[in-house]
Symmetry: C2
Subunit: 233 residues, 2 copies
Amino acid sequence: MLKQANLAAPIGDRLSVRSVPHPFPQAVGTAHDPIFGRAELAAITLPYDRNAEIFGEDEPAVYLYRVVSGAVRTYRLLSDGRRQICGFHMAGEIFGLEAGETHSCSAEAIGSTVVQAVRRAPVIALAARDGDVARYLWAVTAQELQRAQTHALLLVKSAQERVAAFLLQMRPNNGSNTIELPMSRQDIADYLGLTIETVSRTFTQLEGDAKIELPATRRIVLRDRRGLQELNS
Amino acid sequence: MLKQANLAAPIGDRLSVRSVPHPFPQAVGTAHDPIFGRAELAAITLPYDRNAEIFGEDEPAVYLYRVVSGAVRTYRLLSDGRRQICGFHMAGEIFGLEAGETHSCSAEAIGSTVVQAVRRAPVIALAARDGDVARYLWAVTAQELQRAQTHALLLVKSAQERVAAFLLQMRPNNGSNTIELPMSRQDIADYLGLTIETVSRTFTQLEGDAKIELPATRRIVLRDRRGLQELNS
DNA sequence: CGCGTACTTGATATATGTCAAGGCATGTGG
DNA sequence: CCACATGCCTTGACATATATCAAGTACGCG
Protein backbone atom coordinates (compact mmCIF):
# COMPACT_ATOMS: atom_id res chain seq x y z
CA MET A 1 0.00 0.00 0.00
CA LEU A 2 1.00 3.66 -0.11
CA LYS A 3 2.33 3.97 -3.62
CA GLN A 4 3.44 6.91 -5.72
CA ALA A 5 5.00 10.30 -5.03
CA ASN A 6 3.76 13.49 -3.39
CA LEU A 7 1.49 16.14 -4.93
CA ALA A 8 -0.78 18.03 -2.52
CA ALA A 9 -4.08 19.76 -3.40
CA PRO A 10 -6.43 20.15 -0.44
CA ILE A 11 -10.06 21.12 -0.78
CA GLY A 12 -12.02 22.91 1.90
CA ASP A 13 -15.61 22.93 3.04
CA ARG A 14 -17.50 22.61 6.28
CA LEU A 15 -16.81 20.05 8.99
CA SER A 16 -19.38 17.65 10.27
CA VAL A 17 -19.95 14.18 11.54
CA ARG A 18 -23.69 14.37 11.19
CA SER A 19 -25.85 12.53 13.66
CA VAL A 20 -28.19 11.48 10.86
CA PRO A 21 -25.50 10.70 8.33
CA HIS A 22 -25.72 11.26 4.63
CA PRO A 23 -24.31 8.31 2.70
CA PHE A 24 -21.93 10.59 0.83
CA PRO A 25 -21.32 13.49 3.24
CA GLN A 26 -20.30 16.93 2.20
CA ALA A 27 -16.62 17.63 1.73
CA VAL A 28 -14.86 18.44 5.00
CA GLY A 29 -11.98 20.84 5.51
CA THR A 30 -8.72 20.20 7.34
CA ALA A 31 -9.30 23.40 9.24
CA HIS A 32 -10.84 22.11 12.48
CA ASP A 33 -10.75 18.40 11.76
CA PRO A 34 -9.91 16.66 15.08
CA ILE A 35 -7.48 14.37 13.29
CA PHE A 36 -6.29 15.70 9.95
CA GLY A 37 -6.15 19.21 11.40
CA ARG A 38 -3.49 18.22 13.96
CA ALA A 39 0.07 19.06 13.00
CA GLU A 40 1.51 16.51 15.46
CA LEU A 41 -0.15 13.68 13.57
CA ALA A 42 1.86 14.67 10.47
CA ALA A 43 -0.64 13.83 7.75
CA ILE A 44 1.00 12.92 4.46
CA THR A 45 -0.56 13.60 1.08
CA LEU A 46 -0.57 10.89 -1.57
CA PRO A 47 -1.71 10.85 -5.20
CA TYR A 48 -3.14 7.73 -6.80
CA ASP A 49 -3.73 6.92 -10.42
CA ARG A 50 -7.06 5.69 -11.71
CA ASN A 51 -7.75 2.17 -10.38
CA ALA A 52 -4.66 2.17 -8.14
CA GLU A 53 -5.03 0.14 -4.94
CA ILE A 54 -4.80 2.20 -1.76
CA PHE A 55 -4.99 -0.77 0.59
CA GLY A 56 -6.14 -4.37 0.42
CA GLU A 57 -8.59 -6.41 2.45
CA ASP A 58 -6.96 -8.15 5.44
CA GLU A 59 -3.84 -6.00 5.21
CA PRO A 60 -2.70 -4.43 8.50
CA ALA A 61 -4.48 -1.09 8.99
CA VAL A 62 -1.44 1.18 9.26
CA TYR A 63 -3.03 4.39 8.07
CA LEU A 64 -6.33 6.19 8.25
CA TYR A 65 -7.30 8.13 5.14
CA ARG A 66 -9.19 11.14 3.96
CA VAL A 67 -10.08 11.94 0.37
CA VAL A 68 -8.72 15.31 -0.72
CA SER A 69 -9.84 15.19 -4.35
CA GLY A 70 -11.18 12.51 -6.62
CA ALA A 71 -13.10 9.52 -5.31
CA VAL A 72 -12.42 6.14 -3.72
CA ARG A 73 -14.30 2.85 -3.77
CA THR A 74 -14.06 0.25 -1.03
CA TYR A 75 -15.01 -3.30 -1.91
CA ARG A 76 -14.87 -6.96 -1.02
CA LEU A 77 -14.35 -9.86 -3.39
CA LEU A 78 -16.21 -13.16 -3.26
CA SER A 79 -14.30 -16.32 -4.02
CA ASP A 80 -15.87 -16.64 -7.46
CA GLY A 81 -14.66 -13.18 -8.47
CA ARG A 82 -17.85 -11.25 -7.87
CA ARG A 83 -17.13 -7.85 -6.38
CA GLN A 84 -19.33 -6.09 -3.85
CA ILE A 85 -18.62 -2.39 -3.53
CA CYS A 86 -19.16 -1.37 0.10
CA GLY A 87 -19.16 2.34 -0.56
CA PHE A 88 -17.92 5.35 -2.47
CA HIS A 89 -15.93 8.03 -0.68
CA MET A 90 -15.85 11.56 -2.03
CA ALA A 91 -13.71 14.59 -1.23
CA GLY A 92 -13.56 15.28 2.51
CA GLU A 93 -14.58 11.81 3.62
CA ILE A 94 -12.68 9.57 5.99
CA PHE A 95 -12.10 5.95 4.98
CA GLY A 96 -10.01 2.99 6.08
CA LEU A 97 -10.79 3.60 9.77
CA GLU A 98 -10.77 0.26 11.55
CA ALA A 99 -11.12 -0.68 15.20
CA GLY A 100 -9.44 -4.01 14.47
CA GLU A 101 -5.91 -4.43 13.25
CA THR A 102 -6.70 -5.13 9.61
CA HIS A 103 -8.75 -3.56 6.84
CA SER A 104 -12.11 -5.22 6.26
CA CYS A 105 -12.32 -3.98 2.65
CA SER A 106 -9.96 -3.12 -0.16
CA ALA A 107 -9.81 0.47 -1.38
CA GLU A 108 -9.02 1.81 -4.85
CA ALA A 109 -8.89 5.22 -6.47
CA ILE A 110 -11.75 5.54 -8.96
CA GLY A 111 -10.12 8.25 -11.07
CA SER A 112 -6.98 10.26 -10.36
CA THR A 113 -7.28 10.83 -6.65
CA VAL A 114 -5.39 12.58 -3.88
CA VAL A 115 -5.72 11.37 -0.30
CA GLN A 116 -4.25 12.32 3.04
CA ALA A 117 -3.06 9.61 5.39
CA VAL A 118 -2.16 9.63 9.08
CA ARG A 119 -0.73 6.73 11.02
CA ARG A 120 -3.44 4.93 12.91
CA ALA A 121 -1.42 4.07 16.04
CA PRO A 122 -0.77 7.67 17.20
CA VAL A 123 -4.40 8.54 16.52
CA ILE A 124 -5.54 5.73 18.79
CA ALA A 125 -2.98 6.73 21.41
CA LEU A 126 -4.27 10.28 21.22
CA ALA A 127 -7.86 9.07 21.58
CA ALA A 128 -6.94 7.36 24.85
CA ARG A 129 -5.97 10.77 26.26
CA ASP A 130 -8.35 13.07 24.40
CA GLY A 131 -12.06 12.37 24.79
CA ASP A 132 -12.93 14.52 21.78
CA VAL A 133 -10.76 12.42 19.50
CA ALA A 134 -12.20 9.21 20.95
CA ARG A 135 -15.69 10.53 20.43
CA TYR A 136 -14.81 11.52 16.86
CA LEU A 137 -13.48 8.04 16.03
CA TRP A 138 -16.66 6.56 17.43
CA ALA A 139 -18.86 8.98 15.50
CA VAL A 140 -17.12 8.26 12.21
CA THR A 141 -17.48 4.52 12.76
CA ALA A 142 -21.13 4.89 13.75
CA GLN A 143 -21.73 6.90 10.60
CA GLU A 144 -20.17 4.12 8.53
CA LEU A 145 -22.42 1.67 10.33
CA GLN A 146 -25.51 3.63 9.36
CA ARG A 147 -24.29 3.75 5.82
CA ALA A 148 -23.75 0.01 5.75
CA GLN A 149 -27.23 -0.62 7.16
CA THR A 150 -28.80 1.68 4.60
CA HIS A 151 -26.79 -0.10 1.92
CA ALA A 152 -28.11 -3.47 3.10
CA LEU A 153 -31.62 -2.03 2.93
CA LEU A 154 -30.94 -1.05 -0.68
CA LEU A 155 -30.04 -4.56 -1.66
CA VAL A 156 -33.48 -6.00 -0.99
CA LYS A 157 -35.26 -3.55 -3.27
CA SER A 158 -36.11 -3.69 -6.97
CA ALA A 159 -33.65 -2.48 -9.60
CA GLN A 160 -35.56 0.79 -10.09
CA GLU A 161 -35.63 1.44 -6.36
CA ARG A 162 -31.93 0.72 -6.00
CA VAL A 163 -30.93 3.02 -8.82
CA ALA A 164 -33.24 5.77 -7.57
CA ALA A 165 -31.78 5.45 -4.07
CA PHE A 166 -28.27 5.59 -5.49
CA LEU A 167 -29.02 8.76 -7.45
CA LEU A 168 -30.54 10.43 -4.40
CA GLN A 169 -27.45 9.55 -2.36
CA MET A 170 -25.14 11.20 -4.86
CA ARG A 171 -24.54 14.83 -4.09
CA PRO A 172 -25.38 17.21 -6.97
CA ASN A 173 -22.63 19.56 -8.00
CA ASN A 174 -23.40 22.99 -6.56
CA GLY A 175 -26.94 22.95 -5.36
CA SER A 176 -27.90 22.10 -8.93
CA ASN A 177 -29.67 18.93 -9.97
CA THR A 178 -26.75 17.72 -12.04
CA ILE A 179 -24.62 14.84 -10.80
CA GLU A 180 -21.18 14.11 -12.22
CA LEU A 181 -20.51 10.43 -11.69
CA PRO A 182 -16.87 9.59 -11.12
CA MET A 183 -17.54 5.85 -11.32
CA SER A 184 -18.30 3.48 -14.17
CA ARG A 185 -21.57 1.61 -14.73
CA GLN A 186 -19.79 -1.51 -13.54
CA ASP A 187 -18.93 0.21 -10.24
CA ILE A 188 -22.56 1.24 -9.81
CA ALA A 189 -23.73 -2.27 -10.65
CA ASP A 190 -21.37 -3.79 -8.07
CA TYR A 191 -22.53 -1.28 -5.48
CA LEU A 192 -26.21 -2.00 -6.14
CA GLY A 193 -25.84 -5.75 -6.52
CA LEU A 194 -27.10 -5.63 -10.12
CA THR A 195 -25.54 -6.31 -13.51
CA ILE A 196 -24.21 -3.52 -15.66
CA GLU A 197 -26.94 -4.22 -18.21
CA THR A 198 -29.71 -3.83 -15.64
CA VAL A 199 -28.20 -0.55 -14.41
CA SER A 200 -27.98 0.74 -17.96
CA ARG A 201 -31.53 -0.29 -18.80
CA THR A 202 -32.84 1.25 -15.59
CA PHE A 203 -31.18 4.58 -16.39
CA THR A 204 -32.76 4.50 -19.83
CA GLN A 205 -36.11 3.66 -18.31
CA LEU A 206 -35.93 6.49 -15.75
CA GLU A 207 -35.05 8.84 -18.60
CA GLY A 208 -38.10 7.58 -20.51
CA ASP A 209 -40.24 8.29 -17.43
CA ALA A 210 -38.85 11.85 -17.38
CA LYS A 211 -37.39 11.29 -13.91
CA ILE A 212 -33.83 11.99 -15.07
CA GLU A 213 -31.87 13.24 -18.09
CA LEU A 214 -28.65 11.74 -19.39
CA PRO A 215 -26.78 14.50 -21.27
CA ALA A 216 -23.61 12.38 -21.08
CA THR A 217 -23.02 8.88 -19.76
CA ARG A 218 -21.42 10.15 -16.57
CA ARG A 219 -23.65 13.19 -16.13
CA ILE A 220 -27.17 12.83 -14.77
CA VAL A 221 -29.77 15.52 -14.22
CA LEU A 222 -32.43 14.82 -11.63
CA ARG A 223 -35.64 16.02 -13.28
CA ASP A 224 -38.20 14.62 -10.86
CA ARG A 225 -36.69 14.29 -7.43
CA ARG A 226 -40.08 13.67 -5.87
CA GLY A 227 -40.72 10.77 -8.20
CA LEU A 228 -37.34 9.26 -7.40
CA GLN A 229 -38.02 9.63 -3.69
CA GLU A 230 -41.27 7.74 -4.05
CA LEU A 231 -39.38 4.89 -5.66
CA ASN A 232 -36.81 5.04 -2.89
CA SER A 233 -38.83 3.52 -0.07
CA MET B 1 -40.15 1.57 25.26
CA LEU B 2 -39.16 -0.28 28.44
CA LYS B 3 -42.29 -2.23 29.18
CA GLN B 4 -43.13 -4.88 31.73
CA ALA B 5 -41.96 -5.66 35.27
CA ASN B 6 -38.72 -6.94 36.72
CA LEU B 7 -37.49 -10.55 36.79
CA ALA B 8 -33.72 -11.06 36.66
CA ALA B 9 -31.90 -14.15 35.32
CA PRO B 10 -28.32 -13.43 34.24
CA ILE B 11 -26.24 -15.84 32.19
CA GLY B 12 -22.45 -15.96 32.34
CA ASP B 13 -19.70 -16.79 29.87
CA ARG B 14 -16.47 -15.27 28.65
CA LEU B 15 -15.96 -11.62 27.72
CA SER B 16 -14.73 -10.47 24.38
CA VAL B 17 -15.02 -7.87 21.70
CA ARG B 18 -13.24 -9.88 19.09
CA SER B 19 -11.10 -8.06 16.57
CA VAL B 20 -12.36 -10.38 13.82
CA PRO B 21 -15.97 -10.38 14.92
CA HIS B 22 -18.31 -13.32 14.69
CA PRO B 23 -21.77 -12.26 13.53
CA PHE B 24 -23.38 -13.87 16.55
CA PRO B 25 -20.68 -13.73 19.24
CA GLN B 26 -20.50 -16.05 22.20
CA ALA B 27 -22.43 -15.14 25.31
CA VAL B 28 -20.61 -12.60 27.49
CA GLY B 29 -20.71 -12.35 31.26
CA THR B 30 -21.36 -9.31 33.39
CA ALA B 31 -18.25 -10.16 35.36
CA HIS B 32 -15.68 -7.86 33.73
CA ASP B 33 -17.90 -6.13 31.21
CA PRO B 34 -16.70 -2.49 31.04
CA ILE B 35 -20.31 -1.30 31.07
CA PHE B 36 -22.77 -3.84 32.41
CA GLY B 37 -20.25 -4.88 35.07
CA ARG B 38 -20.22 -1.40 36.67
CA ALA B 39 -22.41 -1.00 39.70
CA GLU B 40 -22.51 2.81 39.35
CA LEU B 41 -24.28 2.49 35.98
CA ALA B 42 -27.14 0.67 37.72
CA ALA B 43 -28.17 -1.75 35.03
CA ILE B 44 -31.82 -2.74 35.22
CA THR B 45 -33.13 -6.12 34.14
CA LEU B 46 -36.25 -6.34 32.01
CA PRO B 47 -38.31 -9.26 30.71
CA TYR B 48 -40.10 -9.11 27.39
CA ASP B 49 -42.79 -11.38 25.98
CA ARG B 50 -42.51 -12.96 22.56
CA ASN B 51 -42.73 -10.27 19.83
CA ALA B 52 -42.74 -7.42 22.35
CA GLU B 53 -41.14 -4.20 21.11
CA ILE B 54 -38.03 -3.15 23.03
CA PHE B 55 -37.52 0.11 21.16
CA GLY B 56 -38.65 1.63 17.89
CA GLU B 57 -36.78 3.15 14.97
CA ASP B 58 -36.25 6.92 15.33
CA GLU B 59 -37.09 6.86 19.03
CA PRO B 60 -34.61 8.66 21.32
CA ALA B 61 -31.85 6.24 22.32
CA VAL B 62 -32.24 6.42 26.10
CA TYR B 63 -30.85 3.01 26.97
CA LEU B 64 -28.19 0.62 25.79
CA TYR B 65 -29.09 -3.06 26.02
CA ARG B 66 -27.60 -6.46 26.53
CA VAL B 67 -29.38 -9.76 25.99
CA VAL B 68 -29.38 -11.90 29.13
CA SER B 69 -31.45 -14.79 27.79
CA GLY B 70 -33.61 -15.33 24.74
CA ALA B 71 -32.97 -13.52 21.48
CA VAL B 72 -33.68 -10.14 19.89
CA ARG B 73 -34.18 -9.04 16.30
CA THR B 74 -33.47 -5.54 15.03
CA TYR B 75 -35.18 -4.43 11.84
CA ARG B 76 -36.22 -1.61 9.59
CA LEU B 77 -39.48 -1.25 7.72
CA LEU B 78 -39.85 -0.03 4.16
CA SER B 79 -42.80 2.20 3.31
CA ASP B 80 -44.61 -0.63 1.53
CA GLY B 81 -44.47 -2.82 4.63
CA ARG B 82 -41.49 -4.99 3.70
CA ARG B 83 -39.30 -5.68 6.69
CA GLN B 84 -35.53 -5.97 6.59
CA ILE B 85 -34.05 -7.65 9.65
CA CYS B 86 -30.68 -6.02 10.37
CA GLY B 87 -29.50 -8.67 12.80
CA PHE B 88 -30.24 -11.21 15.49
CA HIS B 89 -28.79 -10.72 18.97
CA MET B 90 -28.24 -13.69 21.22
CA ALA B 91 -27.43 -14.00 24.95
CA GLY B 92 -24.49 -11.80 25.95
CA GLU B 93 -24.69 -9.45 23.00
CA ILE B 94 -24.99 -5.68 23.17
CA PHE B 95 -27.64 -3.97 21.06
CA GLY B 96 -29.22 -0.56 20.69
CA LEU B 97 -25.88 1.23 20.96
CA GLU B 98 -26.07 4.45 18.95
CA ALA B 99 -23.65 7.31 18.48
CA GLY B 100 -26.56 9.52 17.38
CA GLU B 101 -29.49 10.49 19.55
CA THR B 102 -32.02 8.08 18.05
CA HIS B 103 -32.24 4.38 17.28
CA SER B 104 -31.64 3.50 13.64
CA CYS B 105 -33.59 0.22 13.90
CA SER B 106 -36.50 -1.17 15.87
CA ALA B 107 -35.87 -4.05 18.25
CA GLU B 108 -38.21 -6.85 19.31
CA ALA B 109 -37.94 -9.91 21.53
CA ILE B 110 -38.09 -13.05 19.37
CA GLY B 111 -39.27 -15.38 22.12
CA SER B 112 -39.53 -14.71 25.85
CA THR B 113 -36.42 -12.66 26.46
CA VAL B 114 -34.63 -10.99 29.34
CA VAL B 115 -32.41 -7.98 28.71
CA GLN B 116 -30.35 -5.65 30.81
CA ALA B 117 -30.47 -1.92 30.13
CA VAL B 118 -28.26 0.96 31.24
CA ARG B 119 -28.88 4.63 30.57
CA ARG B 120 -26.88 5.79 27.60
CA ALA B 121 -26.07 9.30 28.89
CA PRO B 122 -23.97 8.23 31.92
CA VAL B 123 -22.17 5.68 29.76
CA ILE B 124 -21.15 8.39 27.32
CA ALA B 125 -20.17 10.68 30.18
CA LEU B 126 -18.05 7.88 31.59
CA ALA B 127 -16.42 7.29 28.22
CA ALA B 128 -15.29 10.92 28.13
CA ARG B 129 -13.26 10.26 31.30
CA ASP B 130 -12.35 6.61 30.90
CA GLY B 131 -10.42 5.65 27.78
CA ASP B 132 -11.22 1.97 28.23
CA VAL B 133 -14.93 2.62 28.12
CA ALA B 134 -14.53 4.88 25.08
CA ARG B 135 -12.50 2.21 23.35
CA TYR B 136 -15.12 -0.38 24.23
CA LEU B 137 -17.95 1.69 22.75
CA TRP B 138 -15.89 2.12 19.62
CA ALA B 139 -15.08 -1.59 19.41
CA VAL B 140 -18.71 -2.62 19.80
CA THR B 141 -19.77 -0.19 17.09
CA ALA B 142 -16.96 -1.34 14.80
CA GLN B 143 -18.04 -4.92 15.33
CA GLU B 144 -21.59 -4.00 14.36
CA LEU B 145 -20.18 -2.30 11.27
CA GLN B 146 -18.39 -5.48 10.23
CA ARG B 147 -21.56 -7.42 10.79
CA ALA B 148 -23.54 -5.01 8.64
CA GLN B 149 -20.94 -5.20 5.85
CA THR B 150 -20.97 -8.98 5.96
CA HIS B 151 -24.75 -8.85 5.89
CA ALA B 152 -24.68 -6.64 2.80
CA LEU B 153 -22.31 -9.13 1.20
CA LEU B 154 -24.86 -11.88 1.92
CA LEU B 155 -27.60 -10.04 0.09
CA VAL B 156 -25.93 -10.25 -3.30
CA LYS B 157 -25.55 -14.02 -3.23
CA SER B 158 -27.84 -16.80 -4.40
CA ALA B 159 -30.51 -18.23 -2.11
CA GLN B 160 -28.42 -21.34 -1.35
CA GLU B 161 -25.39 -19.23 -0.51
CA ARG B 162 -27.42 -16.94 1.73
CA VAL B 163 -28.97 -19.78 3.66
CA ALA B 164 -25.62 -21.57 3.99
CA ALA B 165 -24.00 -18.38 5.27
CA PHE B 166 -26.82 -17.90 7.75
CA LEU B 167 -26.44 -21.42 9.10
CA LEU B 168 -22.69 -21.00 9.48
CA GLN B 169 -23.23 -17.75 11.39
CA MET B 170 -25.53 -19.43 13.89
CA ARG B 171 -23.66 -20.82 16.84
CA PRO B 172 -24.28 -24.54 17.49
CA ASN B 173 -25.46 -25.43 20.98
CA ASN B 174 -22.50 -26.85 22.88
CA GLY B 175 -19.77 -27.53 20.43
CA SER B 176 -22.21 -29.87 18.71
CA ASN B 177 -23.45 -29.46 15.16
CA THR B 178 -27.03 -28.87 16.23
CA ILE B 179 -28.53 -25.42 16.00
CA GLU B 180 -31.69 -24.46 17.83
CA LEU B 181 -33.29 -21.62 15.91
CA PRO B 182 -35.18 -19.14 18.08
CA MET B 183 -36.62 -17.34 15.05
CA SER B 184 -39.32 -18.22 12.54
CA ARG B 185 -38.82 -18.91 8.85
CA GLN B 186 -40.28 -15.46 8.19
CA ASP B 187 -37.59 -13.87 10.36
CA ILE B 188 -34.90 -15.77 8.47
CA ALA B 189 -36.44 -14.76 5.15
CA ASP B 190 -36.50 -11.09 6.15
CA TYR B 191 -32.89 -11.32 7.30
CA LEU B 192 -31.75 -12.93 4.06
CA GLY B 193 -33.87 -10.82 1.74
CA LEU B 194 -35.76 -13.87 0.46
CA THR B 195 -39.35 -15.10 0.73
CA ILE B 196 -40.37 -17.62 3.33
CA GLU B 197 -41.07 -20.13 0.54
CA THR B 198 -37.58 -19.82 -0.88
CA VAL B 199 -36.05 -20.26 2.57
CA SER B 200 -38.16 -23.36 3.17
CA ARG B 201 -37.34 -24.85 -0.23
CA THR B 202 -33.64 -24.16 0.25
CA PHE B 203 -33.62 -25.95 3.61
CA THR B 204 -35.31 -28.93 1.99
CA GLN B 205 -32.80 -28.85 -0.85
CA LEU B 206 -29.80 -28.71 1.52
CA GLU B 207 -31.30 -31.64 3.37
CA GLY B 208 -31.61 -33.53 0.08
CA ASP B 209 -27.95 -32.78 -0.63
CA ALA B 210 -27.06 -34.26 2.79
CA LYS B 211 -25.60 -30.92 3.91
CA ILE B 212 -28.02 -30.60 6.84
CA GLU B 213 -30.68 -32.55 8.72
CA LEU B 214 -33.98 -31.13 9.90
CA PRO B 215 -35.11 -33.24 12.87
CA ALA B 216 -37.58 -30.49 13.78
CA THR B 217 -38.50 -27.26 12.03
CA ARG B 218 -36.48 -25.16 14.47
CA ARG B 219 -33.64 -27.63 14.94
CA ILE B 220 -30.94 -28.00 12.30
CA VAL B 221 -27.99 -30.37 12.28
CA LEU B 222 -25.00 -29.33 10.18
CA ARG B 223 -23.97 -32.55 8.46
CA ASP B 224 -21.48 -31.19 5.94
CA ARG B 225 -19.93 -28.02 7.23
CA ARG B 226 -17.29 -28.08 4.52
CA GLY B 227 -19.92 -28.22 1.82
CA LEU B 228 -21.79 -25.29 3.38
CA GLN B 229 -18.58 -23.30 3.59
CA GLU B 230 -17.94 -23.85 -0.09
CA LEU B 231 -21.37 -22.41 -0.84
CA ASN B 232 -20.67 -19.53 1.47
CA SER B 233 -18.17 -17.63 -0.64
C1' DC C 1 -9.24 10.02 -37.67
C1' DG C 2 -9.13 5.50 -35.83
C1' DC C 3 -8.81 2.56 -32.08
C1' DG C 4 -10.31 0.58 -27.66
C1' DT C 5 -13.16 0.85 -23.84
C1' DA C 6 -17.47 1.77 -21.95
C1' DC C 7 -22.08 1.79 -22.59
C1' DT C 8 -26.63 0.49 -24.63
C1' DT C 9 -29.91 -2.53 -26.61
C1' DG C 10 -32.00 -6.99 -27.91
C1' DA C 11 -33.28 -11.95 -27.36
C1' DT C 12 -33.54 -15.55 -24.33
C1' DA C 13 -32.81 -18.19 -19.88
C1' DT C 14 -33.48 -18.82 -15.10
C1' DA C 15 -33.74 -18.01 -10.18
C1' DT C 16 -36.79 -16.44 -7.20
C1' DG C 17 -41.33 -14.42 -6.29
C1' DT C 18 -46.34 -15.07 -6.16
C1' DC C 19 -50.49 -17.45 -5.46
C1' DA C 20 -52.76 -21.40 -3.73
C1' DA C 21 -53.28 -25.63 -1.37
C1' DG C 22 -52.03 -29.03 1.88
C1' DG C 23 -49.61 -31.00 6.01
C1' DC C 24 -47.95 -30.87 10.61
C1' DA C 25 -47.37 -29.46 14.92
C1' DT C 26 -49.26 -27.36 19.26
C1' DG C 27 -52.67 -26.15 22.41
C1' DT C 28 -57.65 -25.97 23.95
C1' DG C 29 -62.07 -27.45 25.12
C1' DG C 30 -65.34 -31.11 25.04
C1' DC D 1 -58.18 -38.86 25.31
C1' DC D 2 -59.78 -37.08 21.25
C1' DA D 3 -61.54 -33.38 18.00
C1' DC D 4 -60.82 -29.32 16.43
C1' DA D 5 -58.79 -24.80 15.68
C1' DT D 6 -54.75 -22.10 14.83
C1' DG D 7 -50.43 -20.80 13.30
C1' DC D 8 -46.33 -22.23 11.03
C1' DC D 9 -44.22 -24.56 7.59
C1' DT D 10 -43.84 -27.12 3.14
C1' DT D 11 -44.92 -28.11 -1.52
C1' DG D 12 -46.71 -27.25 -6.18
C1' DA D 13 -47.80 -24.55 -10.40
C1' DC D 14 -47.04 -20.55 -12.62
C1' DA D 15 -45.35 -15.52 -13.33
C1' DT D 16 -41.80 -12.29 -13.72
C1' DA D 17 -37.72 -9.52 -12.73
C1' DT D 18 -33.23 -9.75 -13.55
C1' DA D 19 -29.21 -12.37 -15.40
C1' DT D 20 -26.92 -14.04 -19.35
C1' DC D 21 -25.36 -14.03 -23.94
C1' DA D 22 -24.63 -11.45 -28.02
C1' DA D 23 -24.48 -7.56 -31.01
C1' DG D 24 -24.24 -2.95 -31.83
C1' DT D 25 -23.10 2.12 -30.81
C1' DA D 26 -20.98 6.06 -28.83
C1' DC D 27 -17.51 8.06 -26.54
C1' DG D 28 -12.82 9.41 -25.06
C1' DC D 29 -8.11 9.36 -26.12
C1' DG D 30 -4.07 8.82 -28.79
